[in-house]
Symmetry: C2
Amino acid sequence: MTRHAESSEFLAAAKTEAARAVEHRKKVLEHVGAEAFTVDDFHKEEPGDWKHTTGRSDVTPAELQLGKRCHGAHVETLSADITPAGSHYLLIHFDVPLIDPSAYRLKIHGLVDKEVSLSLADIKRRKAQTASVLMACAGNGRMGLTERFTSHVPWGPDAFGCADWTGCSLAELLQEVGVKDGAAQVIFTGADKGVEWNTVDYFRRSLTVEQAMTGHVMLCWQMNGADLLPCHGAPVRIIVPGWYGMASVKWLTSIEITSGGWWGTEMDVYCYRRSRLDPTPLPIEQLPVRAMMAPPGHPDFYSRTRLLAPGVVRVRGKVWAGAVDIDYVEFSSDGAKTWQRAEVGDKSGAFGWAAWHFDWDAKTEGSYVLSCRGVDAAGRTQDPLCDDQFNYTGMGSTQPQLVYVRVTADIETVGGSINLEVEEEAAKKPEVMEKAQWDGLYRAPGSQ
Amino acid sequence: MTRHAESSEFLAAAKTEAARAVEHRKKVLEHVGAEAFTVDDFHKEEPGDWKHTTGRSDVTPAELQLGKRCHGAHVETLSADITPAGSHYLLIHFDVPLIDPSAYRLKIHGLVDKEVSLSLADIKRRKAQTASVLMACAGNGRMGLTERFTSHVPWGPDAFGCADWTGCSLAELLQEVGVKDGAAQVIFTGADKGVEWNTVDYFRRSLTVEQAMTGHVMLCWQMNGADLLPCHGAPVRIIVPGWYGMASVKWLTSIEITSGGWWGTEMDVYCYRRSRLDPTPLPIEQLPVRAMMAPPGHPDFYSRTRLLAPGVVRVRGKVWAGAVDIDYVEFSSDGAKTWQRAEVGDKSGAFGWAAWHFDWDAKTEGSYVLSCRGVDAAGRTQDPLCDDQFNYTGMGSTQPQLVYVRVTADIETVGGSINLEVEEEAAKKPEVMEKAQWDGLYRAPGSQ
């Protein structure tokens, strides 16, 4: 069900973007290879100790610090049509700037016929459109890797959100100012400044003029029908539907059109690489396919283990693939060993997500590991469940979510006692659950 | 400057609450002692390995998981009058419930003359008031401890926020339904259910009838002028001004008045204890005094080290003490060794915070550790900078925030290079900074 009237230009752009997404994924697989980048490969490339770590398999205080400033989605909100603000994932590279809306200016300059400096009112006067856009971090799932590139946010599979974004078309704005011949790159600069990879800069990203003019990129001032919160880029941010989140620059202060290619820190960080010094890193762009579920039942506060009363439970989730359509979703209750088809609904717009559900017959008390995976209309699939990563930087991982569920009637007894330590120890026996499944669960915090 | 017209009843309640806060702090010090609870004390009380840890000085995946679901404040927003939603700290014990506002009911029952079931419209029809309320987690600062009680959220000093909360008076509502003679306790139940400390329960907390009837406790449906977000307790939550956050039950579904005392899991968890099996744990109630600063300059993404150009910088922060007035705030630029008085403004309402600033002359390039501390009108002070905790559960810590600043002209050079690894290593030399200061900085993630 499409809840928003998306313009014909926006829908046409979605088709272009879907074709690009499939093409880009092929390039990624050609570049880094379809096989896993192993722990041995990692050690060969990065033999020294990392400054901030005592060992790459531990969580470091610096990682924790980023994990607490930034935050994952509350995955239980996957049962809703959209992710509420406050439950949507958030990555803030530097500081949240607090911008006075009445003093806000956006400068559009460089290779344009007419340089402009727009106020917030100027921007809001333009024709508005609203689109459901699934956003995810390129590093989503990084904590599922045995050894990881530690200098970034330690995501479980929870670095996502799907919100209704309202704004005007970037293409229309660029047509208005007139892009000159010879223009190649559009550089977006945010108000947040800091140091990343030893380089001083504002947060900046670029698109090619072709990408920027496709018709789906928006300058947004609302999220879920309300003015943007400061942490989501108030008063104006870019939204690049179908791409990983790093392209959607927050606190936008400048759009500069340049003739040459442009390569800044935030372009360099977000790349697929085969090695530390890969001479031809491939920029991260469109989202792959991924299914996630709202973990059923009730959680244990600390371990996030799920407790569920025996019976049939409707497991609900969402599946996304950028602008590409969904083919099917599969559900597993035995730790990604055997799979069954789930029911899948329509996408919530060209760049949104589709709801799925599976009626799981959990009649027998015991321990289960639930999982799900999606396949899109272009035949793209998720990564297999695996300790290794498929590129050096641990970007773009789509290992399936794992959710540990204990089916027990005791959860109905308010005031009753459940000793999960004993139950989880029992479940770790080989006949109940393979050790690798347990390791996977506890290496991927936030999965539940 | 009081931005809100608080009713005379509300202001009178603040005076009562201030007296209680001072009294409670005295009881706490009598109970756990004014001296630190040392690492040796901790080992004696909790000799075994904690199930989820590989060692208590490491961050565990389970802690990270909670740190990412919950999240600290974006401390840079301390320069603003209120903490925006999305930048306010958040602790969610179980799942975020998604409640249909049109189906919402609040039951008030037990020892009342007239049991009622109120719709959201019924509640919103009542006389509304808005108050700035500083909220903080009882576990705020826990990561500053060398060895800690790991079964909770790994906060730096960032588990706080000050928002404008709008709602009606609980006391008036209770007067309306008529509290019967013999009533002693008011139990608040939220919609979120789960397991904590092996016990199945909804999130519940209680106040004595006297505490509930004082006149400052509110049933709120708005935060910062907007309907509550799901993660902040939509559609209705309790706000207990001046208390640590655990008392402000979210997703409120039931208020039950009972004759006896009531002691549930969430009352038991939030206690000051001298030992694991302390026979007389003291409930956590009112907030102590604490000052925090918005770290000046710009951050390094990963380490959160601050980079600042040479010159005079106005360091801005806030100070709070529940309902107690502020006496003074001190600022230090040498790692809490020497202190200077800062300028302090008025509180933003009876339970809000006061802005402070200090014009720091950072003319000489080099490394500095900034800190601040508050003293309130009742003479209450913050904890000293110390590795130890002052009670077994690590609750109620007020060790000063530490902010590492590198003063360097290079931060002005966008595109320039700053190698913090080299600079931080140099700063660790005894003549520049004591080792203990560095350890403190890196043990307290989120401090910057």
